[in-house]
Symmetry: C2
Subunit: 336 residues, 2 copies
DNA sequence: CTTGACTCCCAAAACGTTTTGGAGAATCTT
DNA sequence: AAGATTCTCCAAAACGTTTTGGGAGTCAAG
């Protein structure tokens, strides 16, 4: 309720002194500092955020763009990541604000609005595309940002990503080592970097093994997309005996397709993301996950360092992928 | 890049006139208005948000508190809701900011920080408890807010909620009509209003039918919680033949428990929330859902009306629950 | 007694906008 | 032609903070 002026008046001090006392400057005597702090505590004084932001020329805000396209936002633990990121940003005095993309506007428009209105100090971009116009815009404006997922931008920029190429290559080689020869891939939309990356990993492994790369079907990165893509592969004259799916959600959709088809339960399957749900499917879903603890904290740290001006090259994290073996990848190599 | 002063100078006008032209006041001639708008467009002028907020004494921000406790945030489509809400708030010039709750701080502390620092115009509270200290605090401060879920607060406050009582009562009566007599309930943590409400609905139906209400087990509102609670009920001397689960995630956990037990596939089960995943479980999960389109838009609308000063009584939405029949609720009433 | 260093405090400017309360010119009324 | 009215525009005052550039005192050294 109180502002600095009232607080200063009640203490018989100047606004300046009160402000500096609260900020802990050596400039004001210990006694006064204590007196000011007590009074501030008592009336529950908090500096007015807008005024401070105006004066400091910092928005104290970081925006994350959320595609409003429902369901396409990302894996369920995305929200945990956001929450963790927000928590660590808050410790540095920054708040995380949601920048939704209304129908009819592009993600670029939104970035522009936030950046040009000086509404944010930095941005967090998720679900990056291989060619991402947001990245180019922010680079041209010189606004600090971090992406969740790499891009094919020529200039380096800060990111955190999992090594989907290596992960899917390894998973495919594993199937091969187990005797599989017809290994399919259920791919996500290829304009997204992560989907393309994982697809490339599968393809690389297939070529290394001298196998054809035609058992690939693309779909929306959700249960339904995986279901339809799996049906497509199962209609092929010679069915796959194993499936590497770009996401767990697609894998769960694919599991249903397998259930609906004769001998489908003989087909191995692996997903990616380690959804909690995966432990409860039938069969329990084998999957893989990005290594690293507390992703949200990492994003926050990178954002803060980007704001502090560290060069992009030092703000790139590529995490290894590890397997989470449950049951679904252990089907026989020779299917019915 | 430009501010009002520079824009005004380049046009040979006063700051006042430029500001009013952009805001569309009748006060400035159509010709000037057009000239100003064009110039503003050309340099990409956007008012500095902090300055405007300070002057207008409005934060242009709404905060939503997110418990950082991972996984306990809410159903997966919660994020879609947030995104939709943010989108509709943005249309009114408000942005949605995430107020995470760091370890060691209470949700109340966070509310206090946001409210007393004048950082927000209103708040959105999710996962309300029956006795929710945040509600009491915001009421005492007179800050507009809307909750997702009711509370037992004595003073009315704006909310959106599903009629869980009616939903679970109806689901239970339905089981009864199908011949079931041993109908169990897998409950969420009872301090949450939604969990208590659904439990009450089940219990009311059981009592109406003259059945005992001892087949109830409580767990965390996630797959694991449902799994453990189901195992507990299956250990009873006389097993339930049907299960009403507080959430779909719990139901999916329970499905796994049923798979692990002899004759478990004979047991009917129903969840709540209509997760996309439910269509892909085995068997496909029957569930229920709150009626109403575009929940996020409703929250935004209620928030805006609360900010505009409408009385709480007019800002309460209790939505009916509808069934989503798939397969899991159609097991025989007489189990093995 | 003067000088310089140090301690503690403050007045005033600045951040960029919106809004108040007119002022001057043009137009209308009578 | 004088007064009233309408049209355009603007100077200045806020909004509440942080920061700059000192200004009084006090104390020790010269």
């Amino acid at each position: 309720m109180a502002n600095l002026k009232q607080l200063a008046q009640s203490l018989g001090l100047s606004i300046t002194t009160v402000s500096r006392a609260l900020d802990g400057y050596a400039d004001v005597s210990a006694a006064t500092r204590e007196r000011v702090r007590e009074a501030a505590d008592k009336v529950g004084y908090r500096p007015n955020a807008s005024a401070r932001r105006l004066r400091r020329q910092r928005a104290e805000l970081v925006a994350v763009t959320l595609p409003s396209d429902p369901g396409h936002i990302g894996p369920p633990h995305f929200l945990d990541m956001l929450s963790g990121c927000a928590e660590h940003l808050a410790a540095a005095g920054l708040n995380l604000v949601i920048a939704p993309v209304p129908r009819g506007e592009s993600e670029l428009d939104i970035c522009r609005r936030f950046v040009d209105g000086r509404r944010v100090d930095a941005m967090l971009l998720v679900r990056t595309k291989r060619k991402d116009e947001r990245v180019e815009f922010l680079q041209s404006r010189g606004i600090p940002f971090v992406t969740n997922g790499r891009t094919e931008s020529l200039l380096p920029h800060p990111y955190i990503d999992g090594d989907g190429f290596a992960g899917f290559r390894a998973a495919t080689l594993r199937f091969h080592a187990a005797g599989h020869r017809r290994i399919g891939h259920i791919a996500g939309p290829q304009e997204y970097y992560f989907a393309h990356d994982r697809c490339r990993g599968w393809r690389a492994a297939m070529e290394e093994c001298g196998l054809a790369t035609d058992l690939c079907a693309e779909g929306a990165p959700l249960e339904q997309g995986g279901y339809l893509a799996a049906l497509e592969l199962l209609r092929q004259p010679s069915r796959p005996t194993a499936l590497a799916c770009a996401t767990d959600e697609m894998a769960i959709g694919a599991l249903r397709a397998l259930r609906e088809v004769d001998g489908g339960n003989q087909i191995s399957i692996v997903g990616h993301d380690d959804l909690a749900m995966g432990a409860f499917t039938s069969p329990p879903l084998s999957t893989m996950r990005m290594t690293g603890e507390n992703l949200g904290a990492s994003f926050a740290s990178l954002l803060l360092r980007a704001i502090a001006g560290e060069p992009a090259e030092e703000l790139q994290e590529l995490h290894a992928i590890e397997f989470v073996d449950r049951d679904s990848h252990r089907r026989p190599a020779k299917a019915a």
